[in-house]
Symmetry: C2
Subunit: 309 residues, 2 copies
Protein backbone atom coordinates (compact mmCIF):
# COMPACT_ATOMS: atom_id res chain seq x y z
CA UNK A 1 0.00 0.00 0.00
CA UNK A 2 1.31 3.42 -0.93
CA UNK A 3 1.84 5.53 2.18
CA UNK A 4 -0.34 8.59 2.40
CA UNK A 5 1.51 11.88 2.25
CA UNK A 6 1.19 14.82 4.58
CA UNK A 7 1.73 18.35 3.30
CA UNK A 8 3.32 20.62 5.92
CA UNK A 9 3.54 24.35 5.41
CA UNK A 10 4.99 26.91 7.79
CA UNK A 11 8.22 28.52 8.82
CA UNK A 12 11.75 27.21 8.68
CA UNK A 13 13.73 29.59 10.80
CA UNK A 14 16.69 30.27 13.02
CA UNK A 15 16.09 30.80 16.69
CA UNK A 16 18.11 32.19 19.56
CA UNK A 17 16.87 30.97 22.91
CA UNK A 18 17.76 31.28 26.54
CA UNK A 19 16.39 28.79 29.05
CA UNK A 20 17.48 28.08 32.64
CA UNK A 21 19.63 25.35 31.13
CA UNK A 22 21.61 27.47 28.70
CA UNK A 23 21.71 29.87 25.84
CA UNK A 24 21.90 29.06 22.16
CA UNK A 25 22.68 31.95 19.81
CA UNK A 26 21.51 30.27 16.62
CA UNK A 27 19.69 27.02 16.13
CA UNK A 28 17.45 25.63 13.44
CA UNK A 29 13.77 26.07 14.25
CA UNK A 30 10.44 27.14 12.82
CA UNK A 31 6.99 25.54 13.03
CA UNK A 32 7.32 23.63 9.75
CA UNK A 33 10.71 22.22 10.72
CA UNK A 34 9.44 20.77 13.99
CA UNK A 35 6.12 19.61 12.55
CA UNK A 36 7.70 18.01 9.47
CA UNK A 37 10.40 16.20 11.41
CA UNK A 38 7.96 14.95 14.07
CA UNK A 39 5.40 13.85 11.46
CA UNK A 40 8.02 12.06 9.38
CA UNK A 41 8.22 9.27 11.97
CA UNK A 42 4.67 8.35 11.00
CA UNK A 43 4.08 9.34 7.37
CA UNK A 44 5.89 10.75 4.32
CA UNK A 45 6.00 14.53 4.50
CA UNK A 46 6.02 17.20 1.80
CA UNK A 47 7.47 20.44 3.05
CA UNK A 48 6.56 23.94 1.86
CA UNK A 49 8.51 26.82 3.36
CA UNK A 50 11.03 29.51 2.49
CA UNK A 51 14.62 29.98 3.66
CA UNK A 52 17.33 32.52 2.90
CA UNK A 53 20.84 31.95 1.64
CA UNK A 54 22.03 31.57 5.24
CA UNK A 55 20.38 28.14 5.29
CA UNK A 56 23.25 25.71 4.79
CA UNK A 57 23.58 22.08 3.76
CA UNK A 58 24.26 21.36 7.41
CA UNK A 59 20.95 22.95 8.38
CA UNK A 60 19.27 20.91 5.67
CA UNK A 61 20.63 17.71 7.13
CA UNK A 62 17.80 17.51 9.68
CA UNK A 63 15.49 16.54 6.81
CA UNK A 64 17.84 14.03 5.23
CA UNK A 65 17.42 10.31 5.82
CA UNK A 66 13.75 10.91 6.60
CA UNK A 67 10.73 10.60 4.31
CA UNK A 68 10.60 14.37 3.87
CA UNK A 69 10.29 15.77 0.36
CA UNK A 70 11.94 19.21 0.33
CA UNK A 71 11.34 20.28 -3.25
CA UNK A 72 8.83 22.74 -1.81
CA UNK A 73 11.49 24.32 0.40
CA UNK A 74 12.11 27.53 -1.51
CA UNK A 75 15.46 29.32 -1.28
CA UNK A 76 15.62 33.03 -1.92
CA UNK A 77 18.31 35.66 -1.46
CA UNK A 78 18.40 37.22 1.99
CA UNK A 79 18.27 35.94 5.53
CA UNK A 80 15.92 33.32 6.95
CA UNK A 81 13.20 34.18 9.44
CA UNK A 82 14.72 34.75 12.87
CA UNK A 83 13.15 34.57 16.31
CA UNK A 84 14.76 35.14 19.67
CA UNK A 85 13.24 34.50 23.07
CA UNK A 86 13.94 33.97 26.72
CA UNK A 87 12.08 31.56 28.97
CA UNK A 88 10.95 32.19 32.54
CA UNK A 89 12.66 30.08 35.23
CA UNK A 90 9.82 27.53 35.26
CA UNK A 91 9.78 27.55 31.42
CA UNK A 92 5.99 27.94 31.35
CA UNK A 93 6.28 31.34 29.71
CA UNK A 94 8.65 33.19 27.45
CA UNK A 95 9.41 36.68 26.27
CA UNK A 96 10.05 37.34 22.60
CA UNK A 97 13.20 39.43 22.37
CA UNK A 98 13.41 39.79 18.62
CA UNK A 99 11.52 38.80 15.47
CA UNK A 100 13.04 39.41 12.04
CA UNK A 101 10.74 38.34 9.22
CA UNK A 102 13.50 38.58 6.58
CA UNK A 103 12.63 36.33 3.62
CA UNK A 104 9.32 35.39 5.23
CA UNK A 105 8.03 38.92 4.55
CA UNK A 106 7.70 38.11 0.83
CA UNK A 107 6.77 34.45 1.21
CA UNK A 108 4.23 33.24 -1.31
CA UNK A 109 3.89 29.48 -0.82
CA UNK A 110 4.02 27.57 -4.10
CA UNK A 111 3.09 23.91 -4.16
CA UNK A 112 5.22 21.78 -6.49
CA UNK A 113 3.04 19.88 -8.95
CA UNK A 114 3.70 16.61 -7.13
CA UNK A 115 2.31 18.04 -3.88
CA UNK A 116 -1.08 19.06 -5.25
CA UNK A 117 -2.80 15.78 -4.51
CA UNK A 118 -1.80 15.71 -0.81
CA UNK A 119 -4.65 14.11 1.13
CA UNK A 120 -3.43 15.32 4.55
CA UNK A 121 -2.44 18.92 5.19
CA UNK A 122 -0.98 20.70 8.19
CA UNK A 123 -1.01 24.48 7.96
CA UNK A 124 1.61 25.61 10.46
CA UNK A 125 1.41 29.04 12.03
CA UNK A 126 1.86 31.65 9.29
CA UNK A 127 -0.36 34.46 7.97
CA UNK A 128 -3.89 33.03 7.44
CA UNK A 129 -4.06 34.38 3.88
CA UNK A 130 -0.95 32.32 3.03
CA UNK A 131 -2.42 29.24 4.67
CA UNK A 132 -5.48 29.82 2.54
CA UNK A 133 -3.37 30.14 -0.60
CA UNK A 134 -1.91 26.71 0.06
CA UNK A 135 -5.35 25.13 0.21
CA UNK A 136 -6.35 26.80 -3.05
CA UNK A 137 -3.43 25.19 -4.86
CA UNK A 138 -4.59 21.67 -4.05
CA UNK A 139 -6.10 19.88 -7.03
CA UNK A 140 -8.70 18.12 -4.93
CA UNK A 141 -10.27 18.51 -1.54
CA UNK A 142 -7.89 17.03 1.02
CA UNK A 143 -9.16 14.35 3.37
CA UNK A 144 -7.97 16.14 6.47
CA UNK A 145 -6.72 19.66 7.07
CA UNK A 146 -5.33 20.70 10.44
CA UNK A 147 -3.97 24.12 11.26
CA UNK A 148 -2.32 26.22 13.93
CA UNK A 149 -2.37 29.98 14.41
CA UNK A 150 -1.27 32.56 16.99
CA UNK A 151 -2.36 35.67 18.91
CA UNK A 152 -0.84 37.97 16.27
CA UNK A 153 -3.24 36.72 13.58
CA UNK A 154 -6.21 36.52 15.94
CA UNK A 155 -5.66 40.21 16.62
CA UNK A 156 -4.59 41.36 13.18
CA UNK A 157 -6.12 39.05 10.58
CA UNK A 158 -9.29 37.77 12.17
CA UNK A 159 -11.54 37.85 9.12
CA UNK A 160 -8.98 35.91 7.02
CA UNK A 161 -8.62 33.49 9.90
CA UNK A 162 -12.38 33.02 10.28
CA UNK A 163 -12.72 32.35 6.54
CA UNK A 164 -9.94 29.78 6.74
CA UNK A 165 -11.43 28.07 9.79
CA UNK A 166 -14.48 27.16 7.73
CA UNK A 167 -12.22 24.98 5.59
CA UNK A 168 -10.23 23.08 8.20
CA UNK A 169 -11.16 19.94 10.10
CA UNK A 170 -8.91 20.33 13.14
CA UNK A 171 -7.57 23.41 14.86
CA UNK A 172 -4.52 22.79 17.04
CA UNK A 173 -3.80 25.80 19.27
CA UNK A 174 -2.70 26.59 22.78
CA UNK A 175 -4.98 27.52 25.66
CA UNK A 176 -4.28 31.26 25.55
CA UNK A 177 -5.03 31.33 21.83
CA UNK A 178 -8.22 29.32 22.29
CA UNK A 179 -9.38 31.81 24.91
CA UNK A 180 -8.50 34.77 22.73
CA UNK A 181 -10.12 33.39 19.58
CA UNK A 182 -13.33 32.39 21.34
CA UNK A 183 -13.61 35.19 23.87
CA UNK A 184 -14.21 32.55 26.55
CA UNK A 185 -12.02 31.76 29.53
CA UNK A 186 -13.60 28.37 30.11
CA UNK A 187 -11.96 25.93 27.70
CA UNK A 188 -15.04 23.74 27.26
CA UNK A 189 -16.98 26.80 26.19
CA UNK A 190 -14.04 28.05 24.11
CA UNK A 191 -13.82 24.75 22.24
CA UNK A 192 -17.56 24.74 21.54
CA UNK A 193 -17.38 28.26 20.12
CA UNK A 194 -14.40 27.37 17.94
CA UNK A 195 -16.15 24.28 16.62
CA UNK A 196 -19.05 26.55 15.65
CA UNK A 197 -16.53 28.47 13.50
CA UNK A 198 -15.85 25.41 11.35
CA UNK A 199 -13.37 22.86 12.73
CA UNK A 200 -14.99 19.57 13.69
CA UNK A 201 -12.31 19.03 16.30
CA UNK A 202 -10.20 21.33 18.43
CA UNK A 203 -7.00 20.32 20.18
CA UNK A 204 -5.97 22.69 22.93
CA UNK A 205 -2.31 22.43 23.89
CA UNK A 206 -1.46 23.32 27.48
CA UNK A 207 2.32 23.04 27.54
CA UNK A 208 3.56 20.99 30.48
CA UNK A 209 -0.06 20.43 31.53
CA UNK A 210 -0.90 18.32 28.50
CA UNK A 211 -3.49 18.66 25.77
CA UNK A 212 -7.25 18.34 25.51
CA UNK A 213 -9.21 17.27 22.45
CA UNK A 214 -12.78 18.37 21.88
CA UNK A 215 -14.91 16.82 19.16
CA UNK A 216 -18.59 17.57 19.46
CA UNK A 217 -19.47 16.68 23.01
CA UNK A 218 -16.59 14.26 23.34
CA UNK A 219 -13.56 15.26 25.35
CA UNK A 220 -10.18 13.59 25.70
CA UNK A 221 -7.52 14.88 28.06
CA UNK A 222 -3.89 13.85 27.96
CA UNK A 223 -1.63 14.93 30.80
CA UNK A 224 1.79 16.33 30.13
CA UNK A 225 4.47 13.66 30.37
CA UNK A 226 6.24 14.30 33.67
CA UNK A 227 9.82 14.79 32.48
CA UNK A 228 12.80 14.65 34.79
CA UNK A 229 14.57 17.28 32.76
CA UNK A 230 13.16 19.92 30.42
CA UNK A 231 15.92 21.63 28.52
CA UNK A 232 14.11 23.82 26.00
CA UNK A 233 10.36 23.86 25.25
CA UNK A 234 10.87 25.65 21.90
CA UNK A 235 9.04 23.75 19.16
CA UNK A 236 7.22 21.39 21.52
CA UNK A 237 3.81 22.63 20.35
CA UNK A 238 4.77 22.24 16.68
CA UNK A 239 6.22 18.80 17.37
CA UNK A 240 2.94 17.93 19.06
CA UNK A 241 1.03 19.03 15.96
CA UNK A 242 3.40 17.08 13.71
CA UNK A 243 3.04 13.91 15.75
CA UNK A 244 -0.73 14.35 15.93
CA UNK A 245 -1.43 14.85 12.23
CA UNK A 246 1.46 12.60 11.18
CA UNK A 247 -0.04 9.72 13.11
CA UNK A 248 -3.45 10.24 11.48
CA UNK A 249 -1.86 10.44 8.02
CA UNK A 250 0.20 7.32 8.70
CA UNK A 251 -2.93 5.43 9.58
CA UNK A 252 -4.67 6.78 6.50
CA UNK A 253 -7.51 7.74 8.83
CA UNK A 254 -10.01 10.12 7.41
CA UNK A 255 -13.19 11.89 8.33
CA UNK A 256 -15.96 9.49 7.39
CA UNK A 257 -19.44 10.91 7.05
CA UNK A 258 -18.13 14.23 8.18
CA UNK A 259 -16.85 12.80 11.46
CA UNK A 260 -13.37 12.06 12.69
CA UNK A 261 -12.75 8.73 14.36
CA UNK A 262 -12.54 9.52 18.06
CA UNK A 263 -10.35 6.53 18.98
CA UNK A 264 -7.79 7.51 16.35
CA UNK A 265 -7.88 11.14 17.46
CA UNK A 266 -7.17 10.05 21.04
CA UNK A 267 -4.15 8.04 19.97
CA UNK A 268 -3.04 10.94 17.79
CA UNK A 269 -3.15 13.27 20.81
CA UNK A 270 -0.92 10.85 22.70
CA UNK A 271 1.56 10.55 19.82
CA UNK A 272 1.55 14.34 19.61
CA UNK A 273 2.28 14.52 23.33
CA UNK A 274 5.07 11.97 22.93
CA UNK A 275 6.74 14.03 20.19
CA UNK A 276 6.33 17.25 22.16
CA UNK A 277 7.86 15.66 25.23
CA UNK A 278 10.92 14.44 23.33
CA UNK A 279 11.35 17.86 21.76
CA UNK A 280 11.79 19.44 25.21
CA UNK A 281 14.67 17.19 26.17
CA UNK A 282 17.30 19.02 24.12
CA UNK A 283 17.74 22.43 22.54
CA UNK A 284 15.90 23.03 19.27
CA UNK A 285 15.52 19.98 17.04
CA UNK A 286 18.51 18.20 18.56
CA UNK A 287 16.55 15.42 20.23
CA UNK A 288 15.16 14.37 16.85
CA UNK A 289 18.66 13.81 15.48
CA UNK A 290 18.86 10.56 17.43
CA UNK A 291 15.23 9.74 18.25
CA UNK A 292 14.03 6.33 17.08
CA UNK A 293 10.59 4.93 16.44
CA UNK A 294 11.28 2.41 19.21
CA UNK A 295 11.78 5.23 21.73
CA UNK A 296 8.50 6.75 20.54
CA UNK A 297 6.62 3.50 21.13
CA UNK A 298 8.25 3.09 24.54
CA UNK A 299 7.10 6.55 25.58
CA UNK A 300 3.60 5.87 24.25
CA UNK A 301 3.51 2.90 26.64
CA UNK A 302 4.81 5.14 29.44
CA UNK A 303 1.88 7.46 28.74
CA UNK A 304 -0.47 4.51 29.07
CA UNK A 305 1.17 3.48 32.29
CA UNK A 306 1.01 6.96 33.78
CA UNK A 307 -2.69 7.49 32.95
CA UNK A 308 -4.35 4.11 33.48
CA UNK A 309 -6.52 3.52 36.51
CA UNK B 1 -17.37 -5.28 58.74
CA UNK B 2 -16.87 -2.14 60.77
CA UNK B 3 -16.05 0.79 58.52
CA UNK B 4 -12.64 2.30 59.05
CA UNK B 5 -12.64 5.86 60.35
CA UNK B 6 -10.74 8.80 59.03
CA UNK B 7 -9.61 11.55 61.36
CA UNK B 8 -9.68 15.00 59.72
CA UNK B 9 -8.09 18.00 61.38
CA UNK B 10 -7.89 21.53 60.03
CA UNK B 11 -9.84 24.74 59.81
CA UNK B 12 -13.56 25.34 59.84
CA UNK B 13 -13.96 28.92 58.72
CA UNK B 14 -16.00 31.58 57.06
CA UNK B 15 -14.90 32.86 53.69
CA UNK B 16 -15.75 35.85 51.57
CA UNK B 17 -14.98 35.29 47.91
CA UNK B 18 -15.31 37.08 44.65
CA UNK B 19 -15.14 35.14 41.39
CA UNK B 20 -16.13 36.20 37.86
CA UNK B 21 -19.48 34.56 38.64
CA UNK B 22 -20.35 36.48 41.73
CA UNK B 23 -19.50 37.63 45.19
CA UNK B 24 -20.37 35.94 48.46
CA UNK B 25 -19.83 37.97 51.63
CA UNK B 26 -19.90 35.03 54.05
CA UNK B 27 -19.94 31.34 53.36
CA UNK B 28 -18.89 28.29 55.30
CA UNK B 29 -15.41 27.13 54.38
CA UNK B 30 -12.11 25.92 55.79
CA UNK B 31 -9.89 23.01 54.81
CA UNK B 32 -11.37 20.59 57.35
CA UNK B 33 -14.93 21.39 56.27
CA UNK B 34 -14.26 20.59 52.63
CA UNK B 35 -12.06 17.58 53.38
CA UNK B 36 -14.46 16.09 55.93
CA UNK B 37 -17.54 16.52 53.75
CA UNK B 38 -15.80 15.14 50.65
CA UNK B 39 -14.32 12.19 52.57
CA UNK B 40 -17.65 11.35 54.21
CA UNK B 41 -18.95 9.97 50.91
CA UNK B 42 -16.41 7.18 51.25
CA UNK B 43 -15.71 6.58 54.96
CA UNK B 44 -16.84 7.68 58.43
CA UNK B 45 -15.08 10.88 59.43
CA UNK B 46 -14.01 12.24 62.80
CA UNK B 47 -13.60 15.99 62.74
CA UNK B 48 -11.20 18.03 64.85
CA UNK B 49 -11.38 21.81 64.49
CA UNK B 50 -12.33 24.97 66.33
CA UNK B 51 -15.11 27.46 65.68
CA UNK B 52 -16.29 30.62 67.38
CA UNK B 53 -19.71 31.46 68.70
CA UNK B 54 -20.66 32.86 65.28
CA UNK B 55 -20.89 29.25 64.05
CA UNK B 56 -24.63 28.52 64.00
CA UNK B 57 -26.76 25.40 63.89
CA UNK B 58 -27.40 26.26 60.25
CA UNK B 59 -23.66 26.23 59.58
CA UNK B 60 -23.41 22.92 61.36
CA UNK B 61 -26.06 21.41 59.10
CA UNK B 62 -23.48 20.66 56.40
CA UNK B 63 -22.18 17.85 58.64
CA UNK B 64 -25.58 16.46 59.55
CA UNK B 65 -26.96 13.40 57.80
CA UNK B 66 -23.42 12.34 56.96
CA UNK B 67 -21.12 9.92 58.79
CA UNK B 68 -19.22 12.80 60.35
CA UNK B 69 -18.54 12.72 64.08
CA UNK B 70 -18.30 16.33 65.30
CA UNK B 71 -17.56 15.79 68.98
CA UNK B 72 -14.05 17.02 68.15
CA UNK B 73 -15.42 20.31 66.76
CA UNK B 74 -14.55 22.64 69.61
CA UNK B 75 -16.58 25.80 70.23
CA UNK B 76 -14.95 28.72 71.97
CA UNK B 77 -15.97 32.32 72.57
CA UNK B 78 -15.00 34.69 69.79
CA UNK B 79 -15.21 34.68 66.03
CA UNK B 80 -14.34 31.85 63.69
CA UNK B 81 -11.36 31.97 61.36
CA UNK B 82 -12.12 34.24 58.41
CA UNK B 83 -10.55 34.38 54.96
CA UNK B 84 -11.39 36.66 52.10
CA UNK B 85 -10.10 36.44 48.56
CA UNK B 86 -10.68 37.46 44.98
CA UNK B 87 -10.04 35.27 41.95
CA UNK B 88 -8.48 36.34 38.66
CA UNK B 89 -10.79 36.28 35.62
CA UNK B 90 -9.55 32.81 34.56
CA UNK B 91 -9.80 31.62 38.20
CA UNK B 92 -6.33 30.09 38.08
CA UNK B 93 -5.05 32.50 40.68
CA UNK B 94 -6.40 34.47 43.61
CA UNK B 95 -5.46 37.33 45.86
CA UNK B 96 -5.98 37.06 49.61
CA UNK B 97 -7.72 40.24 50.72
CA UNK B 98 -8.03 39.48 54.40
CA UNK B 99 -7.14 36.80 56.94
CA UNK B 100 -8.46 36.96 60.49
CA UNK B 101 -7.21 34.12 62.66
CA UNK B 102 -9.70 34.85 65.46
CA UNK B 103 -10.30 31.67 67.52
CA UNK B 104 -7.74 29.79 65.42
CA UNK B 105 -4.96 31.83 67.06
CA UNK B 106 -5.37 29.86 70.29
CA UNK B 107 -6.33 26.53 68.74
CA UNK B 108 -4.91 23.54 70.54
CA UNK B 109 -6.41 20.44 68.91
CA UNK B 110 -7.70 17.94 71.44
CA UNK B 111 -8.69 14.47 70.30
CA UNK B 112 -11.77 13.04 72.02
CA UNK B 113 -10.98 9.67 73.55
CA UNK B 114 -13.00 7.88 70.89
CA UNK B 115 -10.83 9.38 68.13
CA UNK B 116 -7.50 8.13 69.46
CA UNK B 117 -7.56 4.85 67.62
CA UNK B 118 -8.15 6.42 64.16
CA UNK B 119 -6.31 4.33 61.60
CA UNK B 120 -6.49 6.96 58.85
CA UNK B 121 -5.54 10.58 59.41
CA UNK B 122 -5.70 13.67 57.25
CA UNK B 123 -3.87 16.67 58.62
CA UNK B 124 -5.37 19.64 56.79
CA UNK B 125 -3.43 22.84 56.37
CA UNK B 126 -2.75 24.36 59.81
CA UNK B 127 0.43 25.15 61.74
CA UNK B 128 2.78 22.12 61.51
CA UNK B 129 3.30 22.04 65.29
CA UNK B 130 -0.48 21.60 65.71
CA UNK B 131 -0.58 18.87 63.08
CA UNK B 132 2.20 17.20 65.04
CA UNK B 133 0.26 17.52 68.27
CA UNK B 134 -2.63 15.62 66.73
CA UNK B 135 -0.39 12.71 65.81
CA UNK B 136 1.02 12.58 69.31
CA UNK B 137 -2.46 12.12 70.80
CA UNK B 138 -3.08 8.92 68.83
CA UNK B 139 -2.88 5.81 70.97
CA UNK B 140 -1.32 3.74 68.24
CA UNK B 141 0.52 4.37 65.02
CA UNK B 142 -2.07 5.09 62.32
CA UNK B 143 -2.07 3.01 59.17
CA UNK B 144 -1.97 6.00 56.87
CA UNK B 145 -1.30 9.69 57.50
CA UNK B 146 -1.73 12.24 54.74
CA UNK B 147 -1.18 15.96 55.12
CA UNK B 148 -1.38 19.29 53.39
CA UNK B 149 0.54 22.49 54.08
CA UNK B 150 1.06 25.94 52.52
CA UNK B 151 3.67 28.53 51.57
CA UNK B 152 3.25 30.34 54.90
CA UNK B 153 4.50 27.31 56.87
CA UNK B 154 7.19 26.43 54.32
CA UNK B 155 8.56 29.94 54.86
CA UNK B 156 7.92 30.33 58.56
CA UNK B 157 7.91 26.90 60.19
CA UNK B 158 10.18 24.81 58.01
CA UNK B 159 11.91 22.85 60.75
CA UNK B 160 8.58 21.85 62.35
CA UNK B 161 7.31 20.95 58.92
CA UNK B 162 10.38 18.85 58.11
CA UNK B 163 10.05 16.99 61.42
CA UNK B 164 6.39 16.29 60.67
CA UNK B 165 7.10 15.11 57.12
CA UNK B 166 9.14 12.26 58.54
CA UNK B 167 5.94 10.91 60.09
CA UNK B 168 3.50 11.12 57.19
CA UNK B 169 2.93 8.69 54.35
CA UNK B 170 1.42 11.02 51.78
CA UNK B 171 1.89 14.73 51.21
CA UNK B 172 -0.89 16.38 49.19
CA UNK B 173 0.13 19.87 48.08
CA UNK B 174 -0.15 22.14 45.07
CA UNK B 175 2.52 22.68 42.44
CA UNK B 176 3.72 26.04 43.75
CA UNK B 177 4.11 24.58 47.26
CA UNK B 178 5.94 21.53 45.92
CA UNK B 179 8.38 23.81 44.10
CA UNK B 180 8.88 25.99 47.16
CA UNK B 181 9.34 23.10 49.58
CA UNK B 182 11.80 21.26 47.35
CA UNK B 183 13.60 24.19 45.79
CA UNK B 184 13.08 22.57 42.38
CA UNK B 185 11.03 23.91 39.49
CA UNK B 186 10.81 20.55 37.78
CA UNK B 187 7.99 18.61 39.45
CA UNK B 188 9.56 15.17 38.94
CA UNK B 189 12.65 16.41 40.74
CA UNK B 190 10.52 18.22 43.33
CA UNK B 191 8.58 15.05 44.10
CA UNK B 192 11.78 13.02 44.45
CA UNK B 193 13.21 15.55 46.90
CA UNK B 194 10.01 15.60 48.93
CA UNK B 195 9.93 11.81 49.10
CA UNK B 196 13.46 11.96 50.45
CA UNK B 197 12.04 14.10 53.31
CA UNK B 198 9.78 11.27 54.46
CA UNK B 199 6.50 10.81 52.57
CA UNK B 200 6.38 7.63 50.52
CA UNK B 201 4.01 9.29 48.09
CA UNK B 202 3.46 12.85 46.96
CA UNK B 203 0.33 14.12 45.25
CA UNK B 204 0.80 17.41 43.47
CA UNK B 205 -2.43 19.27 42.78
CA UNK B 206 -2.43 21.52 39.73
CA UNK B 207 -5.84 23.16 39.87
CA UNK B 208 -7.68 22.99 36.57
CA UNK B 209 -4.74 21.08 35.10
CA UNK B 210 -5.29 18.02 37.29
CA UNK B 211 -3.07 16.19 39.73
CA UNK B 212 0.01 14.02 39.59
CA UNK B 213 0.93 11.24 41.98
CA UNK B 214 4.53 10.24 42.58
CA UNK B 215 5.40 7.09 44.50
CA UNK B 216 8.99 6.01 44.13
CA UNK B 217 9.64 5.95 40.41
CA UNK B 218 5.98 5.47 39.61
CA UNK B 219 3.99 8.38 38.26
CA UNK B 220 0.26 8.76 37.70
CA UNK B 221 -1.23 11.83 36.07
CA UNK B 222 -4.90 12.74 36.15
CA UNK B 223 -6.09 15.59 33.99
CA UNK B 224 -8.45 18.20 35.32
CA UNK B 225 -12.04 17.39 34.50
CA UNK B 226 -13.00 19.79 31.73
CA UNK B 227 -15.98 21.58 33.28
CA UNK B 228 -18.44 23.62 31.29
CA UNK B 229 -18.87 26.01 34.17
CA UNK B 230 -16.56 26.75 37.09
CA UNK B 231 -18.28 28.91 39.65
CA UNK B 232 -15.84 29.04 42.56
CA UNK B 233 -12.61 27.03 42.99
CA UNK B 234 -12.47 27.70 46.76
CA UNK B 235 -12.04 24.42 48.61
CA UNK B 236 -11.40 22.33 45.50
CA UNK B 237 -7.94 21.31 46.71
CA UNK B 238 -9.27 20.34 50.15
CA UNK B 239 -12.16 18.45 48.56
CA UNK B 240 -9.58 16.66 46.42
CA UNK B 241 -7.63 15.68 49.53
CA UNK B 242 -10.83 14.54 51.27
CA UNK B 243 -11.90 12.39 48.32
CA UNK B 244 -8.39 10.99 47.98
CA UNK B 245 -7.84 9.92 51.58
CA UNK B 246 -11.53 9.16 52.13
CA UNK B 247 -11.47 6.66 49.28
CA UNK B 248 -8.37 4.94 50.71
CA UNK B 249 -9.94 4.80 54.17
CA UNK B 250 -13.19 3.48 52.75
CA UNK B 251 -11.34 0.67 51.05
CA UNK B 252 -9.42 -0.02 54.23
CA UNK B 253 -6.30 0.09 52.12
CA UNK B 254 -3.08 0.35 53.98
CA UNK B 255 0.60 0.54 53.37
CA UNK B 256 1.72 -3.07 53.29
CA UNK B 257 5.40 -3.72 53.78
CA UNK B 258 5.97 -0.01 53.88
CA UNK B 259 4.48 0.48 50.44
CA UNK B 260 1.21 1.96 49.30
CA UNK B 261 -0.81 0.05 46.75
CA UNK B 262 -0.31 1.95 43.50
CA UNK B 263 -3.56 0.86 41.89
CA UNK B 264 -5.55 2.08 44.89
CA UNK B 265 -3.60 5.34 44.95
CA UNK B 266 -4.45 5.91 41.27
CA UNK B 267 -8.15 5.40 41.91
CA UNK B 268 -7.88 7.65 44.96
CA UNK B 269 -6.41 10.43 42.82
CA UNK B 270 -9.38 10.12 40.46
CA UNK B 271 -11.91 10.19 43.31
CA UNK B 272 -10.06 13.21 44.66
CA UNK B 273 -10.32 14.86 41.25
CA UNK B 274 -14.02 14.02 41.09
CA UNK B 275 -14.69 15.66 44.45
CA UNK B 276 -12.58 18.72 43.54
CA UNK B 277 -14.45 19.10 40.26
CA UNK B 278 -17.86 19.00 41.95
CA UNK B 279 -16.70 21.52 44.53
CA UNK B 280 -16.04 24.10 41.77
CA UNK B 281 -19.56 23.96 40.41
CA UNK B 282 -21.10 26.11 43.13
CA UNK B 283 -19.95 28.60 45.72
CA UNK B 284 -18.33 27.20 48.85
CA UNK B 285 -19.67 23.84 49.99
CA UNK B 286 -23.02 24.31 48.26
CA UNK B 287 -22.53 21.58 45.66
CA UNK B 288 -22.11 19.01 48.42
CA UNK B 289 -25.54 19.84 49.84
CA UNK B 290 -27.15 17.87 47.01
CA UNK B 291 -24.31 15.69 45.68
CA UNK B 292 -25.03 11.96 45.63
CA UNK B 293 -22.77 8.94 45.51
CA UNK B 294 -24.38 8.07 42.16
CA UNK B 295 -23.23 11.38 40.70
CA UNK B 296 -19.73 10.68 42.02
CA UNK B 297 -19.63 7.28 40.30
CA UNK B 298 -20.96 8.79 37.07
CA UNK B 299 -18.20 11.38 37.06
CA UNK B 300 -15.61 8.71 37.81
CA UNK B 301 -16.76 6.98 34.63
CA UNK B 302 -16.57 10.31 32.78
CA UNK B 303 -12.95 10.56 33.90
CA UNK B 304 -12.32 7.11 32.49
CA UNK B 305 -13.98 8.05 29.26
CA UNK B 306 -12.03 11.27 28.90
CA UNK B 307 -8.63 9.66 29.54
CA UNK B 308 -8.77 6.24 27.90
CA UNK B 309 -6.93 5.66 24.65
Amino acid sequence: MRKISLLVVGTVAFDAVETPHGKVARMLGGAATYAAVAASYFAPVRLVAVVGDDFTARDHSIFRGRPIDTQGLERVPGRSFFWSGKYTPDMNDRTTLDTQLNVLAEFDPKLPEAYRDSPFVFLGNIQPSLQHRVLRQLRRKPRLVAMDTMNYWIEGALSDLRALLRQVHVLVINDAEARQLSGRHNLVQAAARIQAMGPKAVVIKRGEHGATLFRGHQVFSAPGMPLHHVCDPTGAGDSFAGGFIGYLAGQGLTPSNGHLDIAALRRAVIYGSVMGSFCCEKFGVDRFRTLTREEIEARYREFQDCTEF
